[in-house]
Symmetry: C2
Subunit: 203 residues, 2 copies
């Protein structure tokens, strides 16, 4: 059985899935979808995911699964990437939720606007200012969460680290300098040093 | 052992936790936090949750857990509210992610602006128009997901139904009429008919 992954290589959400697949040693076929030209909003794609987003995992014999965090939990259940203890597993999920609500819509979206869509700060105006403020606030919460800790949950590398790393390590591409966040920078180095680590645009 | 829940009664995110606690028969102590007057941003509260948000669950002997979906998964693990089969459990989580990314920030936030903060559409301007468009798009995805299905995942009532119901059933308070969504309306009735169901502002 080979998973099929519909993905856009610069996507941090897609990267979470590719990194998890690689670190778990799971083979997969990659289908590239160019979200910039609307390939995730065609009728054919919407039939697979009515929400019109990547990453999307096709599980042979079962169907399509969307949402990066639902996908990585599905892939990693029972592995060393998920803490065995219930409260630490909940802590991992707390960080996953935080990422999708506070970090990705700000740090990730600004990076997409500036680095992928090549928009100018002038045309983004007030929306950019608000997302910068919210994005830096999220980075502050992450910095505080990492104080004195090597990893985010369970005392070892988990899906929480994979998910938070995805957009945080490329935050400077959206103009979010990480100089003022020493705990985040040290943690990024620890994540990048994990066995089987691959960079964001790896297929 | 008694859980302690820090919450704001009109909150849909808080309601997910209260409804889960009630339907699992778990006793808890409720501490009300008035988010409108900044009670979730005091130094004392930020020491419990650096992200300054409710709901927040205090687990005796372990610590504080934030993020509604991390909390309800922690409470319901191994119960009938979580599908036993891996792919259906992943489907449940897919809907949880969708709720926090597409539904709550639009349908929930507009309801908070209009019903709780009593802002006028005029002062909200373009932000309201954008969130209305995104909110109706999310309701469309939910309607399509419910077509021909009694519940969202695993063929029976699960955390996905609790989480999506929280803001959907009060969507009209934010000006999102549900008349054009017959599958959503029928599903809301099924959710409200579940044993142990309580209304949103229940303590």
């Amino acid at each position: 059985m080979i998973y099929r992954l519909y993905d856009y290589l610069p996507s941090g959400n897609g990267y979470k899935v590719r990194l998890t697949l690689r670190q778990l040693g799971l083979p997969y076929e990659l289908i590239e979808v160019d979200i910039k030209t609307g390939e995730s909003r065609t009728e054919a794609f919407l039939a697979k995911n009515p929400n019109g987003r990547i990453p999307l995992l096709e599980v042979p014999g079962r169907g399509y699964l969307s949402e990066s965090h639902a996908i990585i939990e599905f892939l990693a259940e029972g592995s060393a990437l998920v803490p065995r203890e219930a409260f630490e597993r909940a802590r991992m999920r707390q960080w996953l939720c935080f990422e999708q609500y506070n970090l990705e819509p700000n740090v990730g979206t600004v990076r997409y606007w500036l680095a992928s869509l090549k928009k100018s700060p002038a045309e983004l105006g007030e929306k950019l200012i608000e997302k910068r403020r919210e994005g830096f606030a999220a980075l502050g919460v992450l910095e505080r969460g990492l104080a004195g800790q090597a990893f985010l949950a369970g005392g070892s590398y988990s899906l929480a680290d994979i998910a938070l790393y995805a957009y945080t390590h490329v935050a400077p591409e959206g103009g979010f300098a990480l100089d003022a966040y020493p705990a985040i920078r040290a943690w990024c180095e620890r994540v990048a040093a994990q066995p089987g680590h691959v960079p964001i645009t790896s297929r």
